[in-house]
C-alpha cells in the first residue's frame, strides 16, 4: 500500500497568547523567530500511516507545501519512519488560499506516483479551516472521508472509523481515498530515534517548483485566491472583579441579577 501524508509546518500553537502578533498587511501571524512545528493532526496522520506500513508493508511519503524551512518538518517525517519526502516551494505560491495549496498538493501527490491512501490532518493547528484535505480529494477525483480516528487494512481496501457527534461511523472504502485524521490513542506520534534524526538530516529533499509540477504559476498564489480575509485580530480578554455587598441572601440575589444581565442564565 502506498501512502502519502501531507504535512504542514506551522508556528508552534503552544506559544503563549502574549507572544501572538498579527501582521496587519498580510493578515497572518508574524513568525518572529518562534519555533516551527509539524501541525499536530498531521503528525497523527503520519503515525497512522507508519503503523499501517508496519502491519502490512508498503511505502510512506511525506509531502509539504511551504517555504524552505518546511524541510525540517519533512525531515522529522523521515526521522519518524517515512520512506520519501518532497517539498513544494515556490514564490508563486505566496499568498495562496486553501484552493491554491490544495492544487499544488494534488499535483505533488500525482508526481510522487500512485497513492492508495492520502492522509491529511483533520485541520491545521493554525487556521483550522478543515478545507485543504477535501479540496485535494476533489481535485484528484477520489473519495474523501473526514474525521477518521482509526484505519484498518482489509482485503479490498480499508475499514475506517469516522468520529461523529456522540459516536462513530464505520466505513469501508476502496482505495484510492483521502482521509482526514483525528488524534486517537492509537495514533499518538512516536518520538524519532536519535540515529534516525541523524540519517534523515543527510537525506536530500530537493524543492519542487510549480513548473516542476506542470502547473502554470498564474493558477496558484495571491492573484487567483478565492478567499479574502477581511480582518484578523487577537481577542482581547478583560477581567473585572466585583465584590457583592450585603448578607448571603442579598449577595445571591445580586449574583442572579448579574448573571441574567450577562445572559449566562
Amino acid at each position: 500500500m502506498r501512502i502519502v501524508v501531507c504535512l504542514k509546518q506551522i508556528i508552534d500553537p503552544e506559544l503563549p497568547a502574549s507572544q501572538f502578533r498579527i501582521d496587519a498587511e498580510s493578515k497572518r501571524q508574524q513568525p518572529n523567530g518562534h519555533p516551527l512545528v509539524v501541525s499536530p493532526y498531521d503528525e497523527n496522520a503520519l503515525e497512522l500511516a507508519l503503523k499501517l506500513k508496519e502491519q502490512t508493508g508498503g511505502h510512506v511519503a511525506v509531502l509539504s507545501v511551504g517555504q524552505s524551512s518546511a524541510v525540517s518538518a519533512l525531515r522529522k517525517g523521515l526521522a519518524m519512519g517515512a520512506d520519501e519526502a518532497a517539498l513544494i516551494s515556490d514564490p508563486a505560491l505566496e499568498g495562496s488560499d486553501a484552493f491554491g495549496i490544495a492544487t499544488a498538493l494534488a499535483q505533488g501527490i500525482q508526481k510522487l506516483g500512485h497513492a492508495d491512501l492520502v492522509l491529511c490532518g483533520c485541520e491545521s493547528g493554525d487556521w483550522a479551516d478543515r478545507t485543504v484535505g477535501p479540496i485535494v480529494a476533489e481535485t484528484l477525483k477520489i473519495p474523501c472521508v473526514t474525521f477518521v480516528a482509526r484505519v484498518e487494512r482489509q482485503d479490498r481496501g480499508v475499514r475506517v472509523q469516522r468520529v461523529v457527534e456522540e459516536g462513530y461511523e464505520v466505513w469501508e472504502v476502496t482505495p484510492p481515498v483521502l482521509l482526514t485524521i483525528l488524534s486517537d490513542e492509537t495514533n499518538i506520534p512516536r518520538y524519532p530515534k536519535v540515529k534516525d534524526i541523524m540519517a534523515a538530516s543527510r537525506r536530500p529533499i530537493p524543492p519542487w517548483s510549480v513548473s516542476d509540477l506542470g502547473l502554470d504559476a498564474s493558477s496558484v498564489g495571491k492573484a487567483v485566491k478565492r478567499i479574502e480575509i477581511q480582518e484578523l485580530t487577537v481577542p482581547t480578554r478583560e477581567s473585572r472583579c466585583e465584590l457583592l455587598e450585603g448578607d448571603a441572601q442579598e449577595q445571591v440575589a445580586t449574583l442572579i441579577t448579574r448573571l441574567r444581565e450577562r445572559k449566562v442564565i
Binding site: 530515534k193 540515529k195 541523524m198
Partner: protein, 379 residues
C-alpha cells in the same frame, strides 16, 4: 562564527524537549520525593538513543555530535536533574571512556549494550580518602594469573546500585602514586563486588549514591581498560568530557528555575500589580537569563572543540565551574522571587535549588575547576 544550531541539532532538540516535557517532567517530583530510580524513563531513553548519544552507530550509539549531547543533558535535566545525571554519566564517563580507551573486544561486549541503554554504567573514582586528590587511591589491584584481585571501598558512586558495569580505578602500587592507577571494567555479579551503603542525599534523589565494596573481587585480565598505569590519564580525560555534561545539567536546572520564576513573577500580584513589573524582580530575572545564556555558550564552546578534536580541558572546566555556580545562584534567586512559596515543597523551585548544589561538587568541585583553569593559565 555562527551561534545558531544546525537543522539536525534543532530537530534533535525538538525531539528531546518534547520527550522531556511529556515523559520525564511529569515524574520528576515523585522521583525526588520517593527517591526512586526512574527505570522506565531510562529504558525509554535507551530506545531513543539517548544513552550513547555520541557513540558511533557501529557500537550501539546514535552517532551524534557533542552539541547534541549537551542539548540532551540540558533538556532532560530541565525536566528532572536526577534523570539528567543518570544519562550524563552513562554517556560520557562510561561509554566515552570505553570507546576511547577500550579494546575492540571490550567495545563489542560491553560498550554496545551500554550505548543502547540495555545496560547501565557507573564510574568509580572517589574513595573515602581520595576525592579531589584522585591520585591517592587506596583501592588496590593485585595481579593473580589471568585475573586481578580488587580490594577496597569506593564512595559517592552515582548509579552504583543499578549499574551493570562499573569502571573502577585502582592502584597496582601505591608508591607509584598516579602512575600506578589502572582502570577495570567490573561487571555486576562479579564475586566480591557489592553495595555497602546507599547514601541519603539533599538533591538528585532519583539516583543512587553508593558506597561500593570490593573484597577479593576477581576481575579477568581482559577487563583491564587501557594499560597498567594508564588509569589516571583515562580518569582525567573522561572527566573533561563529563564536565561538559555537568555544565549542561547545571544549565538545564537553572533554566527550569528561571522559567518557573518568570511565570510566577508575571502571575503573582502584590500592591495591585504583578511582581514582574517591579524593577527589583526584573533585575533578578535579567541576571538569571544572562548568566544562563553565558553558561550555555561556554558549554557549547567546549563541546565544539571536542568535536573538532582540539584540546578542550580548559574550556570544559570553565564551563563546568561557571554553569554550576550559575545554577546555584539562579535557583537561589528563583526561591527569593517565589518568597514563602519557594520554601515549601508544593512548588518545584526548592527541588531545583537542592539539585543545583551537587553540580558544584561532583566531577570536580568548583575549587578543583579553579585549580585546573589556573594550571592552564600559569603553567
Amino acid at each position: 562564527m555562527d551561534f545558531g544550531l544546525t537543522q539536525q541539532q534543532q530537530l534533535f532538540q525538538e525531539m528531546v524537549r518534547e520527550f522531556a516535557e511529556k515523559e520525564v517532567a511529569p515524574r520528576a517530583a515523585e522521583v525526588d520525593e520517593e527517591a526512586c530510580f526512574p527505570a522506565e524513563t531510562v529504558r525509554m531513553m535507551g530506545k531513543l538513543g539517548l544513552m550513547g548519544v555520541t557513540i558511533p552507530e557501529a557500537y550501539g550509539g546514535a552517532g551524534a555530535d557533542t552539541i547534541c549531547y549537551a542539548i540532551a543533558v540540558e533538556e532532560i535535566s530541565r525536566a528532572c536533574a536526577s534523570t539528567g545525571v543518570i544519562m550524563s554519566i552513562n554517556n560520557s564517563l562510561v561509554c566515552d571512556s570505553i570507546h576511547t580507551f577500550g579494546a575492540e573486544e571490550q567495545k563489542r561486549r560491553l560498550l554496545i549494550p551500554l550505548a543502547r541503554g540495555e545496560k547501565l554504567g557507573c564510574y568509580c573514582l572517589s574513595e573515602p580518602d581520595a576525592g579531589s586528590d584522585a591520585a591517592n587511591l587506596q583501592l588496590t589491584a593485585r595481579a593473580e594469573g589471568n585475573h586481578f584481585l580488587l580490594n577496597g571501598v569506593k564512595n559517592f558512586i552515582t548509579n552504583g546500585q543499578e549499574a551493570n558495569i562499573a569502571i573502577v580505578f585502582a592502584t597496582v602500587d601505591r608508591q607509584l602514586k598516579h602512575k600506578g592507577i589502572s582502570a577495570f571494567l567490573v561487571e555486576k555479579g562479579t564475586p566480591g563486588f557489592g553495595v555497602l551503603k546507599v547514601e541519603k542525599k539533599l538533591g538528585i534523589r532519583g539516583t543512587s549514591c553508593c558506597q561500593l565494596l570490593f573484597e577479593n573481587c576477581r576481575v579477568p585480565r581482559e577487563n583491564l581498560l587501557g594499560g597498567i598505569g594508564e588509569g589516571f590519564n583515562i580518569a582525567m580525560a573522561s572527566l573533561d568530557g563529563g564536565r561538559i555534561g555537568i555544565a549542561a545539567q547545571a544549565v538545564g536546572i537553572a533554566r527550569a528555575a528561571y522559567e518557573a520564576a518568570l511565570g510566577y513573577a508575571k502571575g503573582r500580584v502584590q500592591f495591585g500589580q504583578p511582581i514582574a513589573s517591579f524593577q527589583a524582580i526584573q533585575f533578578m530575572l535579567a541576571d538569571m537569563a544572562t548568566t544562563i545564556d553565558a553558561a550555555r555558550l561556554l558549554a557549547y564552546r567546549a563541546a565544539i572543540l571536542r568535536d573538532q578534536g582540539i584540546q578542550y580541558g580548559l574550556e570544559a572546566s570553565m564551563a563546568k565551574l561557571y554553569a554550576s555556580e550559575v545554577a546555584m545562584c539562579v535557583t537561589t534567586k528563583a526561591i527569593q522571587i517565589y518568597g514563602g512559596y519557594g520554601y515549601i515543597t508544593d512548588y518545584p523551585v526548592q527541588r531545583y535549588f537542592r539539585d543545583a548544589k551537587v553540580t558544584e561538587i561532583y566531577e570536580g568541585t568548583s575549587e578543583i575547576q579553579r585549580l585546573v583553569i589556573a594550571g592552564h593559565l600559569v603553567g
